[in-house]
């Protein structure tokens, strides 16, 4: 069996996940990464993304929205501002948010609205990705 490491996912309101896992996939500001045990130490800033936990052939998905991740050889700490399991996500709402954000981006408004729309799109995609 492959090496395992401790994964902690915490949000301000609760301990979201804690356990031994084989691999975790998530997206940082620099791109998507997969983390196995004995990864080099790394501190990175999380983007809104679908986080995937691989645990003994079983996969769990969750949506996380922003935060930081600290990778140490034997453990990974994810400090997310919001984290949701698929059954906590309202699919229709996420879909509507995605359409709204896409329209806003298509209309080419400038400045802060654009950034906001892009973030909203990322969040809705993270949610939808977790549900699929």
């Amino acid at each position: 069996m492959a090496n395992k490491f401790e994964l902690y996912i915490n949000t301000p309101d609760r301990v979201f996940y804690q356990g031994e896992v084989n691999m975790v996939e998530l997206a940082t500001t620099e791109g998507e990464i997969g983390i196995y045990a004995d990864h080099i130490p790394l501190t990175a800033v999380l983007m809104p993304c679908t986080l995937e936990i691989h645990e003994d052939g079983e996969n769990k998905k969750a949506a996380v929205h922003g935060g930081i991740v600290e990778v140490l050889p034997d453990k990974v700490v994810v400090l997310a501002e919001i984290a949701e399991w698929p059954d906590e996500i309202d699919v229709n709402r996420a879909n509507e948010a995605r359409i709204r954000a896409e329209r806003r981006i298509a209309s080419h408004e400038d400045g802060i609205n654009m950034m906001r729309a892009e973030l909203a799109l990322k969040r809705s995609l993270a949610r939808l990705g977790a549900v699929d």
């Binding site: 915490n10 301000p12 620099e30 130490p41 790394l42 501190t43 800033v45 600290e70 400090l79 501002e81």
Partner: protein, 284 residues
């Protein structure tokens, strides 16, 4: 000796006060249970965030970052977390005392960001400058509230309006122990020692500076949120204790007054009897 009627009136009034304090104690107990659960859920996040940031700072000693440098401005922003309501023993005044009795904080340099009406009123009366009032927040603190406060003070800090950011709150140890605390948020104390005894070099994504740019506001946010949640728990704990004391004081007074009342009644009966006997003797 006071008349029977006076004693009875006094006893009744204390009894109804006792009923109120008892009810308030029960309400606080329920609220405390809720707030305590919330505080326990939040603590791992704040603790991990704190140790992560300590780790980062310990492993990058020579980073020159705007959040780590002492600013030229002498002004100090203080986020003061108190309650909106009183009747909680020394809960509110303990926090304000932290500020008024601190020799390092002068009245002219302090800029208060008040969370909780009681603290705001107490400090306003003493002549401190209140920059903002977030009293609504303390009823039901949310993470977005913490972020709002955080953004506001960080903006002032990066504009150079203020040189230091402090946070005054009541930390919640357990139901009976809560300590008022004043901590410095920014600039982050570079001497924070880390428990990590390993010397693994840390990698950053993106680079160190940009990572700190994003991590430090999150770190502050989580500390402020943790402080809000713990303060709510402490407030209810303090009120529960205060009301418990008030109820037992009321019971003591009632017992004392009951004794006095019974004595007065017995005295009145004895007096009446002697009068009747005296009257009967006079007739014979």
């Amino acid at each position: 000796m006071a008349s029977m009627r006076d004693i009875k009136r006094r006893r009744d009034s204390i009894q109804s006060t006792g009923q109120i304090t008892k009810a308030m104690k029960l309400v606080s107990t329920v609220k405390l249970q809720k707030a305590k659960g919330k505080a326990e859920n939040t603590r791992p996040y704040s603790d991990l965030m704190y140790s992560t940031v300590c780790n980062i700072l310990a492993k990058s000693d020579n980073v020159d970052h705007k959040y780590l440098r002492a600013s030229e401005s002498k002004k100090k922003a203080i986020i003061v977390i108190t309650a909106n309501r009183g009747l909680a023993g020394g809960y509110n005044s303990n926090i304000t005392k932290l500020i008024t009795d601190n020799p390092e904080i002068s009245k002219d340099d302090a800029v208060i960001f008040a969370v909780g009406r009681k603290g705001k009123e107490l400090l306003e009366r003493k002549g401190y400058k209140i920059a903002a009032d977030y009293s609504e927040v303390i009823n039901e603190p949310m993470y977005t509230d913490a972020r709002e406060i955080c953004d506001e003070v960080l903006k002032l800090f990066s504009e150079g309006e203020i040189g230091e950011i402090h946070l005054a709150y009541t930390s919640f140890k357990n139901t009976v122990v809560h300590n008022p605390k004043l901590i410095q948020l920014l600039p982050v104390d570079p001497d924070i020692s880390s428990d990590a005894d390993d010397d693994i070099p840390m990698n950053y994504e993106p680079n160190e500076e940009e990572a700190l740019d994003m991590i430090i506001p999150k770190y502050m946010c989580s500390l402020i949120y943790g402080a809000l949640i713990e303060s709510v728990a402490s407030e209810n704990g303090a009120r529960m204790q205060a009301m418990d004391n008030a109820t037992s004081n009321a019971e003591e007074m009632i017992a004392d007054l009951s004794l006095k009342f019974n004595r007065a009644r017995q005295g009145a009966i004895t007096q009446e009897l002697t009068e009747i006997i005296g009257g009967a003797n006079a007739i014979e």
